[in-house]
Amino acid sequence: MRSIKHFFEQSWLLIVASFFFGLLIAVTNAALSARIAWNATAKLNTLAGGLLPSATKFTPLDETIDIVARGGKPQALQLYRATDNGETVGWIFTAVGSGFADKIELVVAVNGDLQSLAGFVILASNETPGFGDRIKEDGFRNQFKGVPAGELVISNSGEPGTVVTISGATVSSTAVIETLSHYLTQVKEQMQQKGLVDHDDES
């Protein structure tokens, strides 16, 4: 009994402060969470809108698709349907891979029939300025428009349907290509299984 009394005498301030500070964080979070979520959606819409200019609306799919992330862990991937007057014009999802310095997060756009890539944009990265961060440049990104959605083919000559890495930023640009290939093959397979798009042999 004495030890309990001693415990409360010593720690009552810590216990009270923990509840008070917890409440303070909860109230702040409740007040700001809607705005934070809105910011994230607005950013995704802006980036996705740039990749699929014909789309007027981006709607998250009701159910996520199960894929294996780059690190080997299972991931529930949220897909967004890009529509124009109710007609599907593309699909949007985010992909994460390991770059030279840090994670590279991409927003990927695929055409409506999931046959070709509409493009990608870097959502977050921490690559070396002047070198690795050239993956953000249009010159690198534009070559992905229209390449077959699936395992991407790297070539040095830049033949149609293939992509070229950046000299001086080989690790970062290869990371982007491998991340895209990794996600595209799985997303395509899963969506065909779910019947959201036609199978290759039927199209």
């Binding site: 979070n29 700001l32 910011n39």
Partner: protein, 206 residues
């Protein structure tokens, strides 16, 4: 015993100015080196980090000062950390809500303010021993001193590393930016030169 209002006012001014030079957290006390090196590649993130630190410093100093007579000596560091982490979480949420671009640019360095030695140092050295007004003035002095130092460091790195200041081109077109200054090596180099300059100036003054 009567207190001299003029003397008290001059004490407050002294406390406020201490953080700017005599006890500047970065140049004189060498505290808070992690954000000083990590977020000073450009002025905008450095200024945002500085404002977050001022917010956390002021709020935590107020709370610590209010509870200073109730603190148990062996639990005081725990109480400081609890207080600081609460206000850092709030600062992080505010940044995500109202400055999402800066929140992304600063990344993990906002939550890492929790372990910024400047804040825990002021809680221990000032707020836990002084009334609220002195603690607030000390927090502002130290916070502004920290922010100014970060901005000076970031200004040098941004101008030489990119040719820009606050994202606006200020150097002539012929100037070739020294990109190394925007990388970690540039942070160490610039900090070293600025510390040397601060030491020379303070020696001359003394």
């Amino acid at each position: 015993m009567t207190t001299n209002p003029d003397g008290q006012a001059s004490n407050y001014t002294k406390t406020l100015l201490a953080g700017l030079w005599r006890e500047n957290p970065v140049f004189r006390l060498l505290l808070g080196m992690c954000p000083t090196l990590a977020v000073t590649a450009a002025v905008k993130p450095a200024l945002t980090m500085g404002c977050c630190v001022i917010f956390v410093l002021v709020c935590s100093n107020i709370m610590v000062s209010l509870m200073r007579n109730l603190l148990k000596p062996h639990l005081r560091i725990l109480m400081f950390t609890l207080t600081i982490s609460t206000f850092v979480t709030i600062a992080d949420l505010l940044l995500k809500a109202f400055q999402p671009a800066m929140s992304e640019a600063l990344g993990p360095y906002v939550p890492l303010i929790i372990v910024n030695c400047v804040i825990i140092c002021r809680a221990e050295a000032c707020a836990s021993k002084n009334p609220m007004l002195t603690s607030i003035i000390d927090a502002f002095g130290m916070g502004i001193g920290f922010t100014l130092t970060l901005c000076v460091l970031a200004g040098v790195r941004e101008v030489i590393g990119t040719g820009k200041f606050f994202d606006i081109r200020v150097m002539p077109d012929a100037f070739v930016p020294w990109a190394a200054l925007t990388m970690p090596v540039g942070a160490f180099l610039t900090l070293g030169f600025l510390l040397a300059a601060a030491n020379i100036i303070s020696k001359k003054h003394s």
